[in-house]
């Protein structure tokens, strides 16, 4: 026989707020809410008082005023009469430019160094671990300054290129490394060049299509089509043919020495080069470690199983090791990209006009709008970080191991 008794209805006592786990979390949250509210009230109140005392208010209309300063390195039209907002946009574009360039080269450096660290050549292995340790253990700011110093203090001045027996000469006759930056040839788009570009894009699509078709044929019928040389042919031949058919519409504007400086071509300023190169080699060392760890994370049994199935070494790498290693490599790689973007704010140390240097530097100092400028700056970086982490989450979900 069972006796069903209702649990005794406890009356609520005040001590239950601390001793009863059901209510205790409410107590703690209430305390936290009160402390938070008090802190916000205290800080906000101080802010209002300080602003009133200084005769300031929070307003963003200064962004429409003329900036009154020049920016050398810019991707869009800008002059000193443009507004602060436009200066900020120039800065944003510059940040994105250097971050993009550095991400690409850092990946190249990192992958090469990471793979070479696993080489069975002792000397190369040691050399690469030397590279990784040296660059990981010295602050990136010092690297930026070192490379900036190389760019400005060691490179020859443009006048060194002058004369019959110049002290310096251009690399391949195309690139000039001077202490005012690097001059590179600029493409000149003649009439009909769009056709060539369109052909190039079409041939890329063609290569992808051909490879898809060959893979499908292999899976369906077991017939193996050659992959390597047809891809190369589709990639290059139509574009080259079209280039000559249209009468060579794309030319190069090669920088030339005129007066005291180089004319023509594109000038890539020393600050950009310093920031780009320093971020690349610094972050490359970190990426090398990620790549090495990722490749080592694939268990040896996988390689052995693949060779036991009769796959050749190249295929073992492409079909078995890399797909599994990439799953480990890519998440830290993306957070390294995020680090590059955030570290690009060090541009202010070498005078590269990124968003930190324009909005957070000159605009802030000229207008005295510290709070607004710093808030906008943080908002920009937060947006970028959240975007990159969103990409990372999408990727992680896509490659997640499907567990049964």
């Amino acid at each position: 026989m069972t006796t069903l008794t209702d649990p005794p209805q406890e009356s609520f006592r005040l001590s239950m707020l601390i001793n009863d786990t059901r209510y205790r979390s409410l107590t703690f949250q209430a305390i936290a809410a009160i402390v938070l509210a008090l802190a916000i009230w205290y800080l906000g109140n101080n802010l209002l008082q300080n602003l009133r005392a200084a005769g300031l208010n929070i307003a963003y209309d200064f962004l429409g005023d003329p900036a009154g300063y020049d920016i050398n390195q810019r991707l869009i039209e800008y002059d000193s009469r443009s507004s602060h907002a436009r200066a900020a946009i120039v800065g944003i574009l510059n940040t994105l430019l250097v971050a993009f360039l550095a991400c690409v080269t850092a990946t190249v450096f990192g992958v090469i160094a990471g793979v070479l660290r696993l080489s069975n050549n002792w000397l190369v292995r040691k050399l690469m671990s030397f590279y990784v340790e040296i660059f990981r253990n010295i602050p990136v700011l010092i690297w930026i300054i070192i490379i900036f110093t190389i760019m400005t203090a060691v490179m020859p001045a443009p006048r060194a290129f002058r004369g019959d027996e110049p002290e310096a000469s251009m690399l391949l006759g195309l690139f000039a490394f001077t202490n005012r930056g690097v001059y590179i040839p600029a493409p000149v788009w003649g009439p009909g060049s769009m056709v060539v570009v369109a052909t190039f894009i079409a041939s890329i699509i063609g290569v992808i299509g051909y490879r898809r078709y060959a893979t499908k044929l292999l899976y369906d019928t077991g017939k193996l089509l050659p992959m390597g040389w047809p891809s190369l042919a589709i990639f290059f031949l139509p574009t080259i043919l079209m280039f000559y058919i249209m009468g060579r519409p794309i030319g190069l504007d090669i920088p030339e020495l005129g007066g005291f400086n180089f004319r023509g071509g594109i000038q890539v300023g020393a600050p950009l080069i310093a920031l780009w190169f320093a971020l690349s080699i610094y972050t490359g060392a970190f990426i090398a470690e990620n790549v090495r760890a990722g490749i080592q994370a694939v268990s040896k049994g996988q390689t052995e199983a693949a060779s036991a199935l009769g796959l050749r070494p190249g295929r073992v790498m492409n079909l078995v090791v890399l797909p599994q290693a990439l799953r480990v490599i890519i998440p830290p790689l993306i957070s390294q990209y995020l680090n590059i973007t955030k570290n690009s704010s060090l541009a202010i140390a070498v005078g590269y006009a990124d968003i930190t240097a324009t909005l957070g530097g000159i605009t802030l100092n000229q207008t005295g709008r510290a709070i607004e400028c710093v808030l906008l700056l943080m908002l920009f970086y937060l947006t970028i970080s959240l975007l990159i982490s969103a990409v990372m989450n999408v990727y992680n979900n896509a490659v997640k191991l499907k567990e049964r």
Partner: protein, 432 residues
């Protein structure tokens, strides 16, 4: 069969002959070189390329270092001595040694004080870093922050004493109340410490004598590598407890606390340290009463601590997530409450897993202390780019100075990471 065979063979050797020595090319250095340097033609090419790189680097730097001049007064003199030969002017290091280490405003007669603080730091850090040392040394560790503060900043000894008294009162209250519940002990300790500090804050100005034992040094006079070390040590040691609290808060099942922690961590991790330093230098003073004058050093410490605590919180969260669920359940089934379970079972294991990550953050943070030069503090990079390179004597000595700073950072950071690897091996309790 075998019998007949035995009869048909005239002689069978009864003992094994000794193994022949391996061929010359399969032993010793030759074998090693064949396997490790010239295994394939491509590999041999790589070796030659690597040798060439090493040769270029050494040929570029070695004569420069070997011909270094250590005892001139200025760059012009140094160039005179070198007389056109390749060589470094290391004399900038000897001449500006104190500036590089202490900044250009720290009173020279007080240089012994930061040096003593550094020595004490090694004694204080030793028992934390190496468990085999006598535990009594931890007393030095507990007293070190107050002693170091007094040594470096000087001024009245009452300030660190009151701070110490506050901690002591907090610890006493905690000991008394923790038997009841951890929360009571914890909050009681905080309240007790604040009471002592408030009372002490009233008493100090009244009772401090005018001529203190150690002369006061304003914190804007700190500089050089000392500033990097101070920022690094202070911010790392402050941000570890804060990071643990944030990580636990993020795992909490109280929504309000969880969301405060999540927003804080994600916000801090989303912005670069430079912007936070801008906040420290231009914005933070707006948020405090007009009469309070938080000096820049303190503001920077606050911001860097917040910055690194968010990163450490994420590392520790990883450690907490890596623990098997059975550990949490085992703690519950033993009847431990939240604080006990965390202190006795979860955190010791989670922190052990997180050590490499925390050390990475610490190394990164120490390197990032150079960023304070951007907001006009004279740390070692600020000293090099500011007063030293701008002086007429040393205008143009880039490589010696930047190389020196790099070597200092390399030694410290490489040392820390080697220590962390040793610690990982030491703490490994699994049998792999």
């Amino acid at each position: 069969m075998s019998d007949t065979h035995a009869h048909s063979v005239a002689f069978v050797r009864t003992s094994e002959i000794p193994a022949a020595p391996p061929p010359y090319a399969a032993t010793g250095p030759v074998k090693w070189m064949r396997e490790n340097l010239f295994a394939t033609p491509a590999n041999g090419l790589l070796t030659i390329a690597a040798l060439y790189v090493i040769w270029v680097v050494l040929a570029g730097t070695m004569p420069w270092i070997a011909n270094g001049i250590w005892n001139t007064e200025s760059l012009a003199q140094c160039r005179e001595v070198l007389d056109g030969a390749v060589g470094a002017c290391f004399s900038v290091l000897t001449e500006r040694w104190n500036q590089l280490l202490f900044g250009f405003k720290y009173p020279p007669e007080y240089y012994w004080r930061p040096m003593l603080a550094l020595l004490l730091f090694f004694v204080a850090a030793a028992p934390v870093l190496f468990f085999d040392l006598p535990r009594k040394l931890l007393i030095v560790t507990a007293l070190f922050p107050f002693a170091a503060y007094w040594l470096i900043w000087g001024g009245t000894i009452l300030t660190p004493l009151v701070a110490l008294a506050g901690f002591a009162a907090g610890a006493a209250v905690y000991q008394r109340l923790v038997a009841g519940s951890f929360a009571m002990g914890f909050f009681g300790a905080i309240i007790a410490a604040f009471i002592v500090w408030t009372v002490g804050g009233w008493l100090i100005p009244a009772s401090a004598s005018q001529n203190a034992l150690l002369g006061a040094v304003p914190s804007r006079d700190l500089g050089g590598f000392m500033l990097n070390m101070m920022l690094g040590v202070t911010c790392v040691s402050l941000s570890v407890p804060l990071g643990i609290a944030l990580a636990l808060g993020r795992q909490s099942n109280m929504p309000l606390i969880k969301w405060i922690c999540v927003i804080f961590i994600e916000f801090i991790r989303g912005v670069p340290l430079i912007t936070l330093l801008f906040v420290a230098s231009v914005m933070l003073s707006y948020f405090f009463p007009p009469e309070s004058t938080l000096d820049l050093f303190l503001r920077v410490v606050i911001m860097i601590t917040m910055f690194s605590s968010a990163y450490i919180a994420e590392v520790i969260r990883g450690g907490l997530a890596a623990l098997p669920k059975g550990q949490y359940e085992a703690a519950d089934s033993l009847g431990l409450d939240y604080a006990q379970a965390m202190r006795l079972i979860i955190l010791p294991q989670a922190l052990k897993i997180s050590i490499p990550g925390i050390v990475n953050i610490a190394v990164g943070l120490f390197k990032d202390t150079t960023l304070v030069s951007v907001i006009g503090m004279f740390d070692i990079v600020g000293m090099i780019r500011g007063p030293i390179l701008a002086s007429t004597e040393w205008n143009g000595v880039y490589w010696e100075l930047l190389g020196f700073a790099s070597v200092l950072f390399f030694i410290v950071c490489y040392g820390i990471s080697q220590y962390s690897q040793w610690l990982e091996r030491r703490l490994a309790t699994d049998h792999r």
